[in-house]
Assembly symmetry: C2
Homo-oligomer: 147 residues x 2
DNA sequence: AGTGTTAGTATCAAAGTGATACGAACAATA
DNA sequence: TATTGTTCGTATCACTTTGATACTAACACT
């Protein structure tokens, strides 16, 4: 895809996709949220080829969703930690998951519970201002004019 | 990617990604939500090669996010409409957009307003049960055991 | 008859992906 | 000291996907 970046494209979705618009990147972010940090953990968890993994980790690091940290000096070893931007990707993951749960829900599914209440988490998207569920109210789109 | 489908994989995110885990599909869904229905509208809006577009529309149709409808008999013409599953993808789009707005927000951005209140929509993900923002409370993950 | 519109298909070079083998830099064990 | 193991990759190369471009089918319109 022509990754026509940042300030050109007025669509925030396009911009996000140029950063993490492929399945591997999203799965890496998922695993990072699950606590994985190391090359081999990611590789084994996803069954991804090491070449792919190297490239995806590098991109996510360049784009500021992960950061590399040296955790051992002597065999020089790095691990990958979520940055704030990476952590803020969690709502996206949950909404993707919510869709999958609803429309591809056959068989056994991983579940997420609120640790405090013990209830299963049901992620929905709402407008923080009005409190209304996204998609339930009419909206108006304003596209900025070029230049 | 090895699109290891449905009932095998317990992760709802993986399952969603095997359906719409590439940038073109997500952009098509975005445009479909914006009201586009026809081949040439999509093609011009995204600058996608017709071969790609044909394939992606076919996949999204097979997977049940779009449906083909004949809108003209005599030059036989079809258009693509969102199904319920496709419409339910909107929260995903909004959360992806919200991330882009926050972390790739330079320059002019498309905006969405609540038609009733006139306020700009600020999409956030919450747990419908507790009302807490996703990511603000500790959670417990339950992975089903195999077989 | 000629031009325009819509929804594609055909072709093919270029780029991306995936599987596998291998390498570097050590630690631990025999 | 030699061997094996661990971790984080790189090298190679066959295979697949993509993207650009040209073209076709089936009409309508002038």
């Amino acid at each position: 895809m022509d990754t026509e970046n940042s300030c050109e494209n007025p669509c925030p979705i396009s911009r996000s996709l140029s950063v993490a618009g492929d399945a591997w990147s999203i799965l890496i972010l998922r695993d990072a949220h699950a606590g994985l940090t190391r090359f081999d953990q990611f590789r084994k968890s996803m069954g991804i080829a090491p070449t792919m993994l190297t490239r995806r980790l590098a991109t996510l690091t360049e784009e500021g969703l992960l950061e590399k940290r040296r955790y051992s000096e002597h065999p020089p070893r790095e691990e990958y930690l979520l940055t704030e931007a990476g952590r803020d990707f969690l709502p996206v993951l949950f909404m993707i998951g919510a869709w999958g749960r609803k429309y591809r829900g056959g068989g056994k599914l991983t579940q997420f519970f609120d640790a405090e209440t013990g209830t299963e988490i049901q992620a929905i998207a709402v407008d923080e201002v009005t409190g209304a569920k996204i998609g339930t109210r009419p909206m108006r789109v304003v596209v900025p004019d070029e230049r």
